[in-house]
Amino acid sequence: MGLAHLLTQDYLIADSSASETPGKSERARYDLTAKSAHHPAKAKSVIQLFMNGGPSQMDLFDPKPVLNRMDGKPYPGNVEGIGNQSTTDIGVMMGGQYPMHQHGESGLWLADVLPETASLADDLCMVHSMWTDHPNHDNALYKIHSGRLFMGYPTLGSWVVYGLGSENQNLPAYVVLSDPLGLPKNGTRNWTAGFLPPVYQGTPFRPTGSPILNLSKQYSEPPEVTRTARELLRQLDRSHQKERPYQPELDARIQSYELASRMQLAAGEALDINRETKETQELYGIGKQATDSFGRRCLLARRLVERGVRYVQIFLEEQPWDSHVDLASNHRAACERTDQPVAGLLRDLKRSGLLDSTLVIWGGEFGRTPTSQRSGDIYTGRDHNMQAFTSWMAGGGIKGGVSYGTTDDFGHQVTENPVSVHDFHATILHCLGLHHQDLFFDRSGLEERLTGVNPPRVVNELLL
């Protein structure tokens, strides 16, 4: 990499002289410049719509007539194998809570509580055969985001920007849009870089005020005073640098101060949704009470990927899908908040052609049990189910109108074409042009991979 090019980038080095140290250089410098993929790919960026808490597959996407018929009867199998072992109040079979219909030419099933998403059935690729390894939120969240059951491992987004960098150096490569109402379960660990260098961690854009921490002054001072002081700083640093030739880090430092001010402009511009037409805003449900908040985040996500941001993650506060009680009303509320914004996002991406290069992922950390769960004297919710759940994908090299994998008559276990979290990750990486085996990080002599030691399966059946 030429020096001139270097000067325009944020970069990171392991020590002041290591930038050219042979043998160490592979791990010595980490930056966010765009990297070439391992193979040609359709997807350039990802929008992950994360549905915290575990949406119910049998109520939303994976209809189970047998379950409906047996509503209220005891579960015929071994109840010990059901749900989360920590909550032993296993109730009776509980049929789907909403009417379901087939949609589009593909005939995908969706519940009537998702009317907008349903109208785009032919763009969706439903994976009904997802499964994971742990029935607790914490661990299942670590798993779905980082491929491991424990904290401290890099998330999918971190791996993606580690592998591909970003197309826009004035914005963070990996942006997190979390709910103004609060952080999701597990908080900032949903976007940690783990043992990868901190440049690869997700940057949360705050919903109100300044989008990035410290992006604007937290004290007041007349602008011309700030300008004067900045000019002093610039001159001091220039002469400091001049006295110390051959120290590229000092050049980069000066650049990072300049980038800081560019970022102030770029972030402000990217986040200004008033630049969108009223029609576009309405498409996302902005202005309507139920959908305004999620709609804004979806629209921001589009504006960010449009500007070259590689990975955008959208969260809901805490875990609205986690319906141990009152599933029918809780899920309805969660659908009302998200259905129109999600469909708006897909339509908007589609009409601008961005959907071809943007992979949209919808799903949570696990699914829900076919049986109800006792809460007091009522049986109105479902427990966690790690053995089967549904996620969907759209765009970015994924086939539309596909229903993949099957579950048993109750939606309890996967019966055909299981997709593990590692398989899911490997498939997403594949869409982005990354090969899971070639994407590794040398950690104390150990090659760490998102998808672990045993090779996963890229689910080719889902690819265009």
Binding site: Y30, H137, G194, Q218, T228, A229, L250, S256, S329
Partner: protein, 991 residues
């Protein structure tokens, strides 16, 4: 040679327990007689027993070509293909070599896929491949039969299952029904309901009946004791064992013996780091070694750095703080020609030294004030005692060998339960064992205390010890033999057995139970005298805090939803006390409504809300103040041996329910001569039961001849002085690690370290007084050309301050640093925007960053931004990034700005002190001169030097300009000026 001769020859060899393949076919010692299933050690010793009727022949290509690495003597991957016994035992992966279909087993698969022979060996030719294939096909049925006729032969075939599924209730911690299932004798003896089994009759055996009827383990206790039911295969194994007469067998654990090691060869030990450091007489100083290599590349030392540069360098390097104004003046004007070495001695004696160098150690140990692993991220209330122990040890210059022994085996140094009178250092030894308890530990959680989670805690500890202290990466060997380094999986589990007395996954203590309460009488008395009234006060404050919290909620609701009914408001309070996923829909809606109101920015909240919030914070601060007034509890977060370790088994692929053979404690074979058993004995034969395993390990690790201990540590010390190690991979001295740039120097330093009584401060003196260290950091064109990466130390590197040094220096120069040492960590607060800040102490100043609470989920933003590490499980080398959020923080953050204001204030007061004196000639001077003095002071305080002429001119012009823009307000102008200096590269970098 005729076949008859050949067979005779082989027969002869067999009697010696080993053989070499030299001919087309080998007669096989075979296995139609049941033999030990899992015991490779025995299969070497017992070969003679198995020689008998059957004559399955292993073809030459397998025995000869494969057998080169996978034979009885050299058993790569723990696989012996020279005999059917070995083929049945399989390798460490646990994959069947011969499977259901003739060509589906791993033996054929690796050949077919070309995976074997490995790249550096000649491939098999067509004929050889054909020979193997037809042998497998022809003998498949017989092989299968031979391989599957295995019967359990010993207690160790079933004990892993009993440990996993039964001993929680029938073992060390509980003996429900009077039954203990940990030994053969106690199983036979049984409990209140009689023997657990009837030999030869599984159906009649209580054990089988209870398990098969699922009466055991009882469903309602599965989660309480973190047990899962045995699998069908496990039950069948139990059945088979009982059917076979429940044999105890005579199985000895696999430990190092005085026979040559079949898994690690002499040539494996030849790697430089596995050989003890070599003494050299060629040179006797650092500079000689460095200069000689510089000479070889036609380079020379850079000139000595200027005095001010050296002063700042030594202070920042040893203390993480710049010199005070007085200290700087003292050394700046010091008349002695030996001023430099005097300064080094002086700085090394500072109590701040331990805070700086102790921090490096805490990174290595993975120090944290919380357990991690689960969302709640529980606080470790007394982890700080270990932090203080480390700081103390560095300040005392505790010999490194002793330092290690205390941390690895402090509990085995004194019989604390039986000692006449406790001494403070005995307590310190227990605190020291906190080193082994720093990894993430979720086992205190309600749902995360199963064996796999416990194994993860153990593996974190092993990883910290091996990479941090021995320069070995052993993690890979948890699942399979290390790919590059000669660390067989066996050695990982032998190593694990060293810790089994204290970290036993089948006799586990969660972090909640793993604490000791041991203290001196005077501490006990102090607690009794001081704490009770404070505890009462604390409880009252907690009550107040709860009320205030409710009050804040109500005020918030009333201000934003004046129309909301009182009933709904009280219902909100109730809803908040229900776990989030247990709330009913109406409760959920109420809480969301509240959250929406809370999310509104402060600027739009009414004053009553802000006031209530402030009141709540005040009460919380008061609670924390009371906490700090209390005498610390006697609780120690220690690790101690229980003297009753479970057997240790190799876990195939690292999976907790795939046990392999039994191993005993031992150290990595490659770091030994391979022929010396690991010996240990209980340290208190007449006192408390302890295995003595860790003590023996610690003594082995600190023996003067140890190949890596001293090297790893001196390399680490070197790294923290020069920003690069002589071995650049600090944590990996193995085959995949980097070779030392100056091997002779590394060994010379390691030997000096040991000879000087493992004194770390002596190493600092040696290094800091060298010419190498005192060089200028300027890069000349020649040096750039001849030594571009400074591999040869033709100059000192320019280095950015690390996270703590930046924050501590900012506080120090602005006179906002509270230098109180030790004790409870300083709490942090998290703003609604997610910014984590460290709270000030009662002095309204802040302590050093070392004392900030390190909660894994609440890392202070300022430190995080400058690469403060995430401990996973520890950090052996921090990365240094250069990214714009750092600039944004330094320029825009409120606290940094306030520190700039404090600095400006300090500079002005110093000046007025000076000008206040009547005889001071600066009095009533021209503003220009006043600016000059302000600039001088600012530079001297922040950068430990005077400004250059150019910097002075620039400063004057800027101050004038700023002051004009600020209606003549000099204080504000100076604040802005100081803020720029704090942002400058001169401040953030050290030459």
């Amino acid at each position: 040679m005729t076949p008859t001769d050949e067979s005779q020859r082989i027969q002869n060899r067999l009697t010696k327990g080993s053989f070499v393949v030299a001919s087309q076919y080998v007669f096989l010692l075979t296995i139609l007689l049941p033999i030990q299933s899992s015991l490779a050690a025995d299969r070497v010793n017992n070969d003679a027993d198995s020689v008998n009727e059957s004559e399955l022949l292993v073809p030459k290509p397998i025995s000869n070509r494969c057998g080169k690495c996978h034979g009885a003597e050299t058993r790569k991957g723990d696989l012996d293909l020279s005999s059917l016994v070995g083929i049945r035992a399989g390798g460490e992966s646990g994959d069947p070599l011969i499977d259901q279909k003739p060509l589906s087993g791993r033996l054929w698969q690796v050949i077919q896929d070309g995976e074997m022979p490995p790249e550096n060996e000649a491939p098999l030719d067509k004929e050889e491949i054909e020979q193997i294939k037809s042998w497998i096909q022809a003998n498949h049925a017989r092989l299968r039969e031979a391989l599957s006729s295995e019967k359990p032969k010993s207690i160790h075939d079933v004990l892993p299952t009993l440990l996993l599924r039964c001993v929680s209730c029938h073992g060390a911690q509980r003996t429900d029904g009077g039954l203990d299932l940990r030994t053969h004798a106690s199983i036979i003896k049984g409990g209140e309901s009689g023997s657990a089994l009837v030999k030869g009759q599984p159906d009649e055996s209580l054990l089988i009946r209870r398990v098969e009827s699922q009466a055991c383990p009882p469903g309602h206790l599965l989660l309480k004791f973190f047990v899962r039911r045995p699998s069908k295969a496990e039950i069948n194994l139990l059945r088979d064992w009982i059917k076979a007469g429940a044999p105890e067998g005579n199985v000895n654990p696999d430990i190092a013996s005085d026979a040559p090691d079949p898994l690690v060869s002499e040539s494996d030990r030849q790697h430089w780091a596995y050989q003890p450091p070599q003494k050299t007489t060629r040179y006797q100083s650092i500079d000689n070694f460095i200069e000689q290599q510089l000479h070889e590349i036609n380079q020379t030392f850079s000139p000595r750095a200027e005095r001010d540069t050296l002063i700042r360098r030594v202070y920042m390097n040893l203390l993480g703080l710049p010199p005070s104004l007085d200290q700087w003046l003292h050394w700046h004007d010091h008349p002695s020609p030996d001023w430099y070495s005097m300064m080094v001695d002086d700085v090394l004696a500072s109590p701040h030294y331990g805070e700086r160098w102790g921090r490096y150690w805490l990174d290595l140990a993975g120090y944290a004030d919380s357990e991690g692993g689960i969302s709640a991220d529980p606080i470790r209330p007394v982890a700080w005692k270990y932090r203080d122990y480390v700081v103390r040890s560095f300040n005392q210059d505790k010999p490194y060998d002793q330092f290690l022994i205390e941390q690895l085996a402090g509990d085995e140094l004194t019989d604390h339960a039986n000692v006449q009178e406790l001494q403070p250092e005995m307590i310190d030894h227990l605190i020291a064992t906190g080193f082994l308890r720093m990894g993430i530990d979720e086992t205190g959680s309600r749902t995360m205390n199963f064996v796999p989670e416990r194994l993860k805690v153990i593996s974190d500890t092993i990883s910290i010890v091996s990479s941090g202290l021995m320069g070995l990466t052993m993690e890979c060997a948890r699942c399979h033999t290390h790919k590059y380094d000669p660390i067989p999986q066996r050695d990982y589990y032998r190593f694990k057995a060293i810790f089994q007395g204290a970290l036993d996954e089948h006799d586990w203590k969660s972090f909640k139970q793993r604490k000791l309460s041991i203290g001196l009488d005077k501490d006990r008395k102090a607690i009794a005298a001081t704490n009770p009234p404070l505890a009462k006060q604390r409880n009252q404050l907690l009550q107040q805090a709860k009320q205030q919290q409710d009050n804040l909620t109500m005020v918030t609701l009333r201000s934003h939803y004046p129309a909301q009914s009182e009933a709904d408001q009280s219902a909100t309070l109730v809803a908040l006390k229900v776990a989030d996923n247990q709330r009913t829909l109406p409760q959920r809606l109420l809480v969301e409504k509240l959250q929406r109101a809370q999310a509104i920015p402060d600027s739009e909240q009414i004053s009553a809300v802000l006031e209530a919030r402030l009141n709540l914070e005040k009460i919380e601060d008061q609670i924390q103040r009371v906490d700090r007034q209390m005498v610390p509890p006697l609780t120690i977060r220690a690790l101690w041996d229980n003297g009753r370790p479970s057997p240790t088994y190799i876990l195939k692929r690292g999976e907790h329910d795939k046990p392999g053979r039994l191993v005993g404690p031992g150290v990595p074979s490659v770091l030994t001569d391979g022929e010396t058993p690991f010996s240990y004995s209980p340290p208190f034969p007449d006192g408390t039961a302890k295995t003595g395993r860790r003590l023996a390990f610690a003594q082995w690790l600190t023996s003067p001849q140890h190949p890596t201990t001293a090297r790893v540590m001196v390399n680490r010390i070197w790294f923290h002085h020069f920003g690069q190690g002589l071995v650049s991979t600090l944590e990996n001295f193995g085959v995949m690690g980097q070779k030392p740039t100056h091997p002779e120097l590394l060994d010379w330093l390691a030997i000096s370290f040991v000879e000087n009584g493992w004194s770390i401060k002596t190493m600092h003196r040696l290094i800091l007084n060298s010419r190498t260290y005192q060089q200028s950091s300027r890069v000349t064109p020649q040096a750039k050309k001849g030594d571009p990466q400074n591999k040869y130390y033709s100059r000192m590197p320019l280095r950015r301050l690390d996270a703590e040094s930046i924050r501590d220096s900012l506080l120090f120069v602005s006179d906002q640093l509270d230098t109180t040492q030790g004790g409870l960590p300083d709490p942090v607060s998290v703003s609604s925007e997610g910014e984590v800040s460290i709270k000030p102490t009662d002095t309204s100043k802040w302590r050093r960053s070392l004392y900030a609470q390190y909660r894994r989920t609440e890392i202070p933003t300022m430190l995080d931004t400058f690469d403060y590490p995430q401990m996973g499980p520890n950090c052996l080398e921090r990365s240094v990034s250069n990214v714009s959020p750092q600039s944004l923080l330094m320029l825009n953050n409120r606290q940094v700005r306030e520190l700039a204001a404090s600095l400006a204030h300090r500079v002005q007061s110093l000046l007025s002190e000076k000008t206040g004196k009547a005889d001071d000639p600066t009095k009533n001077q021209h503003p220009e001169d006043q600016y000059n003095l302000l600039i001088d002071l600012t530079y001297q305080i922040t950068l430990s030097r005077s400004p250059t002429l150019q910097e002075k001119t620039l400063g004057r012009e800027t101050l004038k300009h700023l002051r004009n823009r600020l209606s003549g307000n000099l204080s504000l102008a100076l604040e802005s000026y100081c803020h720029a200096i704090m942002n400058s590269a001169s401040f953030l970098y050290v030459d």
